[in-house]
């Protein structure tokens, strides 16, 4: 062979020139072959054509003007495009990524000298390239319908920009799922499940004060653009109805829904990009670095509070307000104290769940720790670098717990001390209890995970987190006399503490008579148990780490 001993000169492709990206081009080649893509494109064109023709003919049949008869097609086309990009595209990304790993081809891609970001972008746009082509095939029909319907670009441009950013967000979700989940079928199901959850379940949390979550879908922008997409009369009615709906507010700033959605989704897209780049750089890396995880947690708190706080005084944050708007009983409306207590509980619960997820991401496995200590020995250091994946995550979880407790307290205080509950106040002592709940649960979870590994934590979650709730639910259903016993059982689960805390500590709390005594007692008792247990687990963790450091340093 010629020049067998020298590596070839290497030309690096700029990251932003996606069309030159070899991975993107590889998928263009395989997924845009006439044989496979031709049929898909034909189907997309046929359906889009059918939608436009059908809308037009219904308009003509009903005697509507050309503008009004063209507009219904736009929404139907948008649904088609969303199905193509969100469902099919995401499944393709997750399944394709898992298939690469399943077959082992991914090892080749790991070794090719492209930057991790280039690889991420290559897969992000390459794997669903057929879906993008199908989307493009429907665009002429959309363009015709927009032109014929006289829809202003102020209406359709933000909508399509957010369609694109949502597509990126979902495809990133699929890519991360495909990278992390080992089984192809599971990756496919989980990614579709996540898209479904992002569209249906997670936005529902907006109704309980966590407004930020609705901006993970295209829905807010779609609702904002809807009057401009409907036939004129229907559009006017919807526009009138929208006067009652609050716009996106972030602290005291007013944004259009599109800008705020792009802002919210952008942060998540950036975080997903970081996750994937880390995995491409080194397969064993954690999805997120410790600092990024803490930053991400604080950022989510910031968004949750920024969205929620401005909506308290107008009353738009309360679930009953949305309900009363629907049944038009606005004038005499005022929120119930129980709503505020429940919303505080949900905020605490979601914050805790997010903290658990991030703690699981940044906590090193036992193998990781051992490797880290050996590396420390090799480099002649005395301790693990603080921000390395192998270092303990306790400190970072503590910071998250403190930030979460503070966010929870700010939210609760704003609710209780709002104009809706005159004369009520939340003392600083409540912050102390919130901190105790978050740190006990967060540190206990993290210390157990770091000392014993994921399997033990999974079992503990099942036995301590889920089983008491199930048993309590069964007991409470038997008779009212069993409720106080059920309350004690519920309290055993860390998931109940964020609900018990506001129920026990807030002056506006109005618990049912059967639970009024049991809830505070169970809360204080289980909180004490939780704090002691977490303290013990943290001490055990420190001992385990010391023992590991000593054992690794002691032998080769």
């Amino acid at each position: 062979m010629s020049n067998g001993n020298s590596s070839m000169p290497h030309v690096r492709h700029p990251v932003w020139k996606v069309w030159q990206n070899p991975i993107f081009r590889r998928y263009c080649r395989s997924r845009l072959r006439l044989r496979g893509a031709g049929v898909a494109l034909l189907i997309a064109v046929l359906i889009a054509g059918f939608i436009v023709a059908m809308a037009g003919s219904i308009g003509v049949g009903s005697g509507a003007n050309p503008q009004d008869s063209a507009r219904p097609a736009i929404i139907a086309l948008l649904v088609l495009q969303s199905l193509i990009l969100f469902i099919s595209g995401t499944a393709q990304v997750a399944g394709g990524m898992t298939a690469e790993r399943d077959e082992g081809v991914i090892d080749y891609q790991r070794l090719i000298p492209m930057s991790p970001l280039s690889k991420v972008l290559g897969y992000l746009f390459g794997l669903p390239v057929r879906e993008y082509a199908m989307f493009l095939a429907t665009l002429p029909f959309t363009a015709w319908a927009l032109w014929r319907g006289g829809v202003s670009w102020h209406t359709w441009l933000p909508l399509y920009l957010i369609l694109f950013s949502s597509t990126l967000l979902y495809h990133f979700t699929g890519l991360v799922t495909g990278t992390v989940v080992r089984n192809r079928r599971w990756a496919f199901l989980i990614s579709i499940g996540l898209v479904f959850a992002l569209y249906t379940i997670i936005p529902q949390m907006a109704k309980f004060g966590l407004v930020f979550f609705k901006y993970l879908s295209i829905t807010p922008v779609f609702q904002e653009s809807l009057p401009g997409l409907l036939p004129k009369t229907a559009g006017e009615i919807v526009r009138a109805g929208q006067q009652l709906v609050p716009t996106a507010k972030f602290f005291n700033l007013d944004f259009s829904e599109a800008v705020f959605t792009a802002f919210s989704q952008g942060g998540l897209i950036l975080t997903f990009t970081v996750m994937l780049c880390r995995k491409w750089r080194r397969a064993e890396s954690h999805l997120l670095g410790k600092l990024w995880a803490v930053g991400f947690f604080v950022w989510i708190q910031f968004l949750l509070l920024g969205n929620a706080l401005p909506l308290i005084d107008p009353g738009n944050l309360f679930p009953s307000r949305g309900f009363s708007r629907m049944v038009r009983i606005m004038p005499d409306w005022s929120p119930q104290p129980g709503e505020a207590v429940l919303m505080s509980g949900i905020y605490g619960f979601v914050t805790m769940a997010l903290m658990f997820c991030l703690a699981a991401i940044i906590t090193p496995s036992i193998d990781h720790q051992r490797r880290g200590w050996r590396r420390v020995r090799k480099l002649g250091l005395s301790t693990l670098p603080r921000f390395s994946d192998e270092a303990t995550a306790s400190g970072f979880v503590l910071v998250m717990a403190l930030a979460g407790a503070f966010g929870w307290f700010v939210f609760t205080r704003a609710l209780v001390e709002s104009r809706w509950f005159p004369g009520q106040a939340v003392s600083l002592g409540t912050l102390g209890y919130f901190i105790a709940v978050m740190t006990a649960c967060g540190l206990g979870f993290q210390a157990l995970l770091e000392t014993k590994g994921g399997r033990t934590v999974g079992l503990a979650t099942l036995l301590v987190g889920v089983v008491p709730v199930m048993a309590g639910a069964v007991l409470s259903a038997i008779s009212d006399r069993m409720i106080s016993f059920a309350v004690w059982l519920f309290g055993m689960s860390p998931a109940s503490l964020p609900f018990y805390a506001p129920g026990s500590l807030l002056s506006i709390s109005e618990l049912p008579a059967e639970a009024a005594r049991a809830v505070p007692r169970a809360f204080y008792f289980w909180l004490l148990v939780g704090v002691l247990l977490a303290g013990w687990l943290v001490v055990r963790l420190r001992q385990a780490r010391r023992a590991m450091a000593a054992s690794v340093a002691g032998k080769p």
């Binding site: 062979m1 010629s2 020049n3 067998g4 001993n5 020298s6 590596s7 070839m8 000169p9 290497h10 030309v11 690096r12 492709h13 070899p22 991975i23 081009r25 590889r26 080649r29 395989s30 997924r31 077959e103 082992g104 081809v105 090892d107 080749y108 891609q109 790991r110 070794l111 090719i112 000298p113 492209m114 750089r281 080194r282 397969a283 064993e284 036992i366 193998d367 051992r370 490797r371 050996r374 590396r375 020995r377 090799k378 080769p556």
Partner: protein, 346 residues
């Protein structure tokens, strides 16, 4: 290596290198031309399972170096660390002087890796698969990529299959396509995990010649197999691994000598006094695993040729008349079978 030395062949290699570092000039030279592969105290754990245990090895440039061992010996784990695909629990790996754990990007440019059961994407044609990798390795223009792809296909004798779908290739053809992919960027260190599996004898010969040519061109080839004869044919030196540990390393003859010396089997057929002969033999320190089969006394002997001669002399002095005295040395394959069996019963 001399007889009676400890069975640590990796250190044997180190001795060889340290011998080279006798003058300052040579030491300087060594710094400029580090060995192609240097593994120091490598350890790989999978939870509680120790896959590679304190492996140290040096492979000089331009060698075709073989790594042989039964399934589960730690070959693939070693290769995955070498190719930056896996982080070891401990140890250092240098390729051409580049620490693969500290400088991934540079290391990845140096190596060409062909995994075991090398996969290919079924949705690409052979030339498309190679063209993609050529582009990914930054081989500039379309024309130069095409030229390079054609060269590599010719190297593995697959030019006529370039329009075929990768999914339609036979096992042997797939191996050759992946080998062609591995050669595309002219790597300085080739790491081939079981490259000959699935190849017919003709293709195996071609592979051997191709590897030889690469080594002659200055590339270093590190190749693994669990079939020793396969490696013995194509490698200038090799090492043997079992249970994650290095058992032997050196030239093919050195390794054979090392492994066989410790496993000689002697067969004695006395004319009479079988039980006396057996009793006397049993009292000798170097004799082990003695058994009587019919007229024959079969036993293992764990000492050198001189001790073996003394043993025969002792038997005669003891008044035992000997009809025959045979030495059977286990073949290389036999030894590896034994090694593999040990591995299974672990």
């Amino acid at each position: 290596m001399e007889e009676g030395e400890p069975n640590n062949f990796s250190s044997g290699f180190k001795i060889e290198l340290s011998h080279l570092r006798t003058t300052k000039y040579e030491e300087l030279l060594m710094n400029f031309h580090p060995p192609a592969i240097e593994i120091r105290s490598l350890r790989v754990d999978y939870g509680d399972f120790l896959a590679v245990d304190d492996l140290s090895l040096t492979v000089p440039r331009g060698e075709v170096f073989g790594l042989v061992g039964p399934n589960g010996a730690g070959k693939t784990s070693t290769f995955r660390v070498l190719t930056t695909l896996m982080e070891p629990t401990y140890g250092e790996v240098l390729l051409d002087g580049v620490d693969v754990l500290e400088d991934l990007e540079t290391a990845r440019r140096i190596i060409g890796y062909m995994p075991d059961l090398a996969p290919v994407p079924s949705d690409l044609k052979v030339w498309e698969f190679l063209d993609f990798h050529a582009a990914a390795y930054g081989i500039g223009s379309r024309a130069s990529r095409r030229e390079r792809v054609a060269e590599c296909l010719e190297e593995v004798a697959l030019t006529d299959q370039c329009e075929k779908w990768c999914g339609e290739l036979s096992r042997g053809q797939t191996q050759r396509v992946v080998l062609a992919k591995t050669l595309l960027h002219r790597p300085r260190v080739l790491i081939l995990d079981e490259p000959a599996s699935g190849l017919d004898p003709l293709a195996r010969r071609d592979l051997r010649n191709a590897l030889r040519r690469l080594a002659d061109g200055g590339a270093t080839v590190f190749v693994s197999s669990h079939i020793l004869s396969e490696l013995a044919e194509m490698c200038s030196s090799l090492c043997v691994m079992n249970r994650g540990r290095l058992l032997a390393a050196g030239t093919v003859d050195q390794v054979r000598h090392q492994l066989c010396d410790t496993r000689r089997l002697l067969t004695l057929t006395p004319l009479s006094h079988h039980s006396e002969a057996a009793a006397w033999l049993s009292s000798q320190a170097a004799v082990h695993e003695l058994r009587i089969e019919g007229q024959q006394i079969i036993f293992g002997f764990g000492a050198d040729d001189h001790a073996q001669a003394d043993l025969l002399e002792g038997l005669i002095r003891h008044g035992i008349r000997i009809r025959s005295f045979e030495e059977k040395r286990s073949s290389f394959e036999d030894i590896l079978v034994e090694v593999a069996q040990n591995n299974r019963t672990r």
